[in-house]
C-alpha cells in the first residue's frame, strides 16, 4: 500500500470534530447497505445520536462498476442533536472508481477518501467512463486520499478459512467496516454478534467474515503508512431518556401499529401487496405476528385494501400499505370504506412518480392523491410522519382517528423515512392513552347507524353480534337504517355527515405547535420527511440571528384548527417540498393565504444549505419589498 495523496492535504482539517458524515459507496453487490447498518448500530451503542440515508439503485444487482449501479449509505453521527444524514460527507469509503466519481461532488472540501486501490484497474476505470485514474491524475487534490488494497488484503487475511477466491473477496465489506470502526473508535461486538447469528450455520463463512472484520480493524491499529488514518473519538450525545434503540421508519410503523392494537384492545389485519419502498413494513410485521397483527399477502393492491376492509367489517382493524401506484389502485375501495363508514388505515410510503417513476427514490408527491384523489365527495383524514421514529406516533394517531371516527385514514411516509434510521428513545406505551372504539358491548342491541353526537361516528357492529344485524354497502345508504336510499335529501344529509365527520377531526387532534423559532418573520412550513433538514437549517439561521420559525405539519387533513391564526403571525410563509408545490396548494386552498415555495424533485432529500439559502433569499426579498413600498 502506498499513500498517493497530495502533500497539500496535510494542511487540511484534522478528523477531530463533534459530528461526522460518512458515506459508504460501491456496487449493489458489495454489501454497502449492510456495512452502513452495522456502522449505525455501533454508533448508537457507543452513545451517539445519528441519522442515516440509504441511497440505492432500483436494480437488485445493477451491472458492476457502472456509475448508475452505485449503491450508497450515508450516516451522520455525533454528540449534538442529529436530525439529518448530513449535506456533505467528510469521509467517503469507495469500493470502485464509479463509487468514487459519482460521490465526489457531494463531499466536503478536504474530506477523507478511503478507496479500494485494487479496484482501480484499467478495465474498471473504463466501466466508470474514466479516461484517467483519479488516484494519479491530480483530480483529488482537494481531498485527503487514502488508497488501501482492501480486496487483496482481505483475500490474504481470510486465506486460512479455505473459501474460494470469489467468496474470500466478498468478505471485503467487513474488512472495510473493521477499518472504519477503528477509525472512529467504535465497537466491533454488535457486528460480530450479527455475523454469528447470520452465518452460524456456515462456520467457514462466519469465521472468514469475523477474520476480515478483525483484520481491517488491526490494519487501522498497526498501519502507520498513512498519516490520514488517525483514530478519533466523537463526543457522545447528551441523551435524556434511558433506553434507546435504532429504528427505521418501516420498523417504527410496524411497532406503532402493534402498539395501537394494544392501546385499542383490537387485533389488526395487515393486508398488503409487495412494492418498493413499502414492502419493508409488510416484512417487519410478517415476522411479528404473535403480537396481534395478522398479515395477509393479497394477489394485488385492490385485493389488499378489500381484504383489509373485509377485516374491518368483521371487527378487526384492517390496515393496508403500499406506495403511490398501489394507492391509485386502492382508490375505489377506499371510497367503499368511506361510504360504509368503516375504520381502515392506508399507509403510503411515497416514491418518485409518475407511473413507476423512481421506485427507490424519495418524493412527497402523493399529497394531492391522499387529500383529493377519489371519485365523489369522499373526504378522509390524512396524517404524515416526519421522522423515522415519529412513524411510531403517526401510526398510533392514524389508528386512533380511524377507530374513533369510523373512517379510513391515510398515513403518509416516504422512501426516505421508511429506510432511514435514527436513534430512538423507546416509548413507554403504558403512558399512552387508551384508544376508544365504537364497538358495542356483547349484551347491547340497536342500530349500527346510531352516531356519536360529537364525532358522528357510527357503531362498529360486526357480524357475530346478535343485536346489530344489518346490511351496508357502497350504494348511498339511508341515514338511519343503512338500507339503500336514492332519496335526494338523504344524499345531501349523508354527504354533510361525511364532510363534517372529517372536519370535526380537527377538534380532537392536538393544536399545531411551532417546532422552533420566533414569530413575526418568516415561517418555514413543511410536512413529512423534510423535518430533519429544515430543523437543522432553521436552527442554524436562528443562531445567526434570523427572524425565522419552523412549523412542521403532521395533521394534513383536516389542517389543525389553529394553523391559520398561527401563520397570520408571519410576514412570509415559505413551503419547501419534494414535489411541485402540493402542501402549498393545500394551504392556499384551505387557509386562503399567500405562500412562497421551494421545490425540488431530484429523488434526493433537501439539504440544510439549500434551505438556509432559501430562507435568506426570501427574507431579503421581503426586505426589498418593504423598502420599495
Amino acid at each position: 500500500m502506498s499513500d498517493k495523496s497530495s502533500a497539500s492535504a496535510n494542511s487540511l482539517k484534522p478528523l477531530e470534530r463533534d459530528r461526522h458524515v460518512i458515506r459508504f459507496a460501491g456496487d449493489s453487490g458489495d454489501g454497502i447497505q449492510l456495512q452502513g447498518q452495522q456502522f449505525t448500530v455501533a454508533s448508537a451503542l457507543s452513545g451517539h445520536d445519528l441519522a442515516t440515508l440509504p441511497d440505492f439503485p432500483a436494480e437488485i444487482r445493477a451491472p458492476a462498476g457502472t456509475r448508475y449501479g452505485v449503491s450508497a449509505f450515508q450516516i451522520q453521527f455525533g454528540g449534538d442533536r442529529i436530525t439529518t444524514a448530513g449535506d456533505a460527507p467528510d469521509v467517503l469509503i469507495a469500493f470502485n472508481p464509479a463509487a468514487l466519481v459519482v460521490n465526489l461532488s457531494h463531499l466536503e472540501p478536504g474530506a477523507l477518501i478511503i478507496v479500494d486501490a485494487d479496484a482501480f484497474t484499467e478495465q474498471r476505470l473504463k466501466r466508470a467512463d474514466l479516461a484517467t485514474n483519479p488516484l494519479e491524475d491530480g483530480s483529488l487534490e482537494a481531498y485527503r486520499v487514502c488508497p488501501v488494497d482492501i480486496t487483496s488484503l482481505t483475500v490474504q487475511a481470510v486465506k486460512p478459512h479455505g473459501l474460494g477466491s470469489k467468496d474470500s473477496a466478498r468478505c471485503k465489506n467487513f474488512y472495510a467496516l473493521g477499518l472504519v470502526l477503528w477509525l472512529f473508535d467504535q465497537p466491533r461486538e454488535p457486528t460480530m454478534a450479527w455475523i454469528e447469528e447470520k452465518f452460524g450455520r456456515l462456520p467457514d463463512v462466519r469465521d472468514a467474515n469475523l477474520t476480515a472484520l478483525n483484520a481491517g480493524h488491526a490494519f487501522g491499529e498497526t498501519s502507520e503508512l498513512s498519516h490520514h488514518l488517525v483514530q478519533s473519538t466523537t463526543p457522545q450525545a447528551p441523551l435524556d431518556s434511558v433506553e434507546y434503540r435504532t429504528v427505521t421508519g418501516a420498523e417504527a410503523i410496524a411497532l406503532g401499529l402493534l402498539a395501537a392494537g394494544e392501546l385499542a384492545d383490537t387485533e389488526l389485519m395487515f393486508c398488503s401487496y409487495p412494492i418498493t419502498p413499502a414492502s419493508s413494513v409488510l416484512h417487519h410485521l410478517a415476522g411479528l405476528e404473535d403480537a396481534g397483527v395478522a398479515t395477509f399477502q393479497a394477489e394485488d393492491e385492490i385485493a389488499a385494501v378489500c381484504s383489509a376492509i373485509g377485516a374491518s367489517y368483521a371487527g378487526k382493524l384492517g390496515v393496508t400499505s403500499s406506495s403511490g401506484p398501489g394507492i391509485a389502485l386502492k382508490g375505489e375501495a377506499i371510497g367503499l370504506a368511506v361510504a360504509a363508514e368503516l375504520p381502515l388505515v392506508i399507509v403510503n410510503s411515497q416514491r418518485a412518480g409518475p407511473s413507476t417513476g423512481l421506485p427507490t427514490k424519495t418524493e412527497q408527491s402523493d399529497l394531492y392523491q391522499a387529500v383529493y384523489g377519489r371519485n365523489g365527495d369522499t373526504p378522509i383524514p390524512v396524517v404524515a410522519a416526519k421522522t423515522p421514529g415519529h412513524c411510531f406516533d403517526a401510526a398510533i394517531e392514524a389508528v386512533t382517528l380511524a377507530l374513533r371516527h369510523m373512517t379510513p385514514v391515510i398515513l403518509l411516509t416516504d422512501g426516505y423515512i421508511a429506510n432511514a434510521s435514527e436513534l430512538w428513545p423507546i416509548p413507554d406505551i403504558d403512558a399512552y392513552p387508551a384508544i376508544p372504539t365504537r364497538k358495542p358491548g356483547p349484551d347491547e342491541s340497536g342500530s349500527a347507524f346510531e352516531r356519536d353526537p360529537e364525532t358522528y361516528a357510527r357503531r362498529w357492529a360486526a357480524p357475530g353480534h346478535p343485536g346489530f344485524i344489518h346490511r351496508v354497502g357502497g350504494i348511498e345508504k339511508d341515514v338511519t337504517t343503512g338500507n339503500i336510499s336514492y332519496d335526494a335529501d338523504n344524499h345531501q344529509a349523508m354527504t354533510d355527515i361525511r364532510q363534517n365527520k372529517v372536519l370535526n377531526v380537527a377538534k380532537f387532534v392536538a393544536p399545531q405547535e411551532m417546532d422552533q423559532g420566533v414569530t413575526g418573520g418568516l415561517a418555514v412550513v413543511a410536512w413529512g420527511s423534510t423535518y430533519g433538514t429544515i430543523y437543522q437549517a432553521v436552527k442554524e439561521c436562528l443562531a445567526e440571528g434570523a427572524q425565522v420559525a419552523h412549523i412542521h405539519i403532521t395533521q394534513i387533513n383536516p389542517l389543525p384548527s389553529n394553523l391559520g391564526e398561527m401563520l397570520a403571525g408571519f410576514h412570509t410563509v415559505l413551503v419547501p417540498e419534494l414535489n411541485t408545490g402540493q402542501l402549498a396548494t393545500l394551504l392556499k386552498d384551505r387557509l386562503v393565504i399567500d405562500v412562497k415555495q421551494h421545490n425540488k424533485v431530484t429523488g434526493q432529500p433537501l439539504t440544510v444549505t439549500e434551505i438556509k439559502n432559501a430562507i435568506h433569499e426570501h427574507a431579503s426579498a421581503r426586505l426589498r419589498d418593504v423598502a420599495g413600498d
Partner: protein, 338 residues
Amino acid sequence: MSQTQVLSFKDFATDQEVRWCPGCGDYSILKAVQRALADTGASAENTVFVSGIGCSSRLPYYVETYGFHTIHGRAPAVATGVKLANPELDVWLVTGDGDGLSIGGNHLLHVLRRNVNMNILLFNNEIYGLTKGQYSPTSREGTRSPTSPDGSFDNPVIPGSFALGAGASFIARGIDIDQKGLPLLLADAQAHQGTAFIEILQNCIVYNKDVFDDVVAKKQAKETQVQVVHGQPLIYGKDEDKGLRLNTQTLALESVTLGNGITEADLLVHDETNPIIAALLVALAPPMPTAMGIIHRVEKPVFDQAYWEHKPTQRSAKVRDLLRTGNMLDRRNEVSPR
C-alpha cells in the same frame, strides 16, 4: 353467542322491497337461499352475505343476516378478509358472470386457489344485467347486445372449467327455478370445508330471455341435462335410456343409448374426487347434456384454518418486548431516571 331458536324460511327475509324485474331468475335463487339457510339451521348473526355489483349482487339486502354489498368484482377479496378476521362466520359470496369472471376474475382465481372456507354463488345469466344488457365473458359467440350489435365474437369462458383450473375443491351447477334441487345443492356447499363454487344458470328475462332454454326448458330437461351423482353411472334421458361413455381413443365423453349390447357397465361412473372426470363433465354443452349437481368435490387444506394455525395472538406481552428488541442502548445502569 348461541342460537336460541331455529329460524324459518320467513325469518331470513328482510323488510326491504325486492327490486328485481318481475320474472327475473334472481327471485327464485333468493328463495332457494332462504330455504337452505332455514334447512341448515343457520344463525342469522353468524352468517354474512358479501357481494360485488350487479343485479345479482343486490341479494344481501334481502337476506336477514349480516350483509355487505361491496364494489364491482372485488367481493372475493372482501369476503376473504371477513373470513380471515373471523373464521367462525359462515360466509356466502354472491357474484355475477361479469362481476366474478370479468372485472373480478383475478380475485375469483385466488379465492378458489387458496380454498378459503366460503360458498360462492355465481349467477350466470350470460349478460351484464344491471348495466342494461351488454354481452359478458360467458355470452355465447354471436350474442347480440348494445355493444355487440353484429353478434359477439369473443370466446366465452366456462365458469366451472375456470374454477377447476384455479384448483377449486367444490364445483357444482344448479338452476334458478329448481326449488327442490338448488337448496340441497346450497346445503351441500355449506357443509363443504373450503371454497364451494356453484354456478347457477339464471334467467335474465329482460336482456337475455330464456338463453338457457336449450338446457333448462322443462319439457325436454331430462334429455338436455345429466344429473351427476357420485358413484353412479352417468345416465340421463326421460326413459333413462341414455348414458355417457368415455371414448378411450379420443378421451372424450360420448352419448350412447342403452340396449343393443350397450349396458350400464359401459358407462362412466361419476367420481366427484376425480378432476379429469370433472373437466370432461363441466365442459359438456348442447347437443350433449349439460352436467348438473356436484361435479367435483375433494378435501384440500383450508386457507383460513392454516392461516390462524401460523398466527398465535398473544398481543399484550409481546408488544412491550418488541419495542425493546433490536440493538438497544440501555442506559438504565448509567443514568438515573429523571
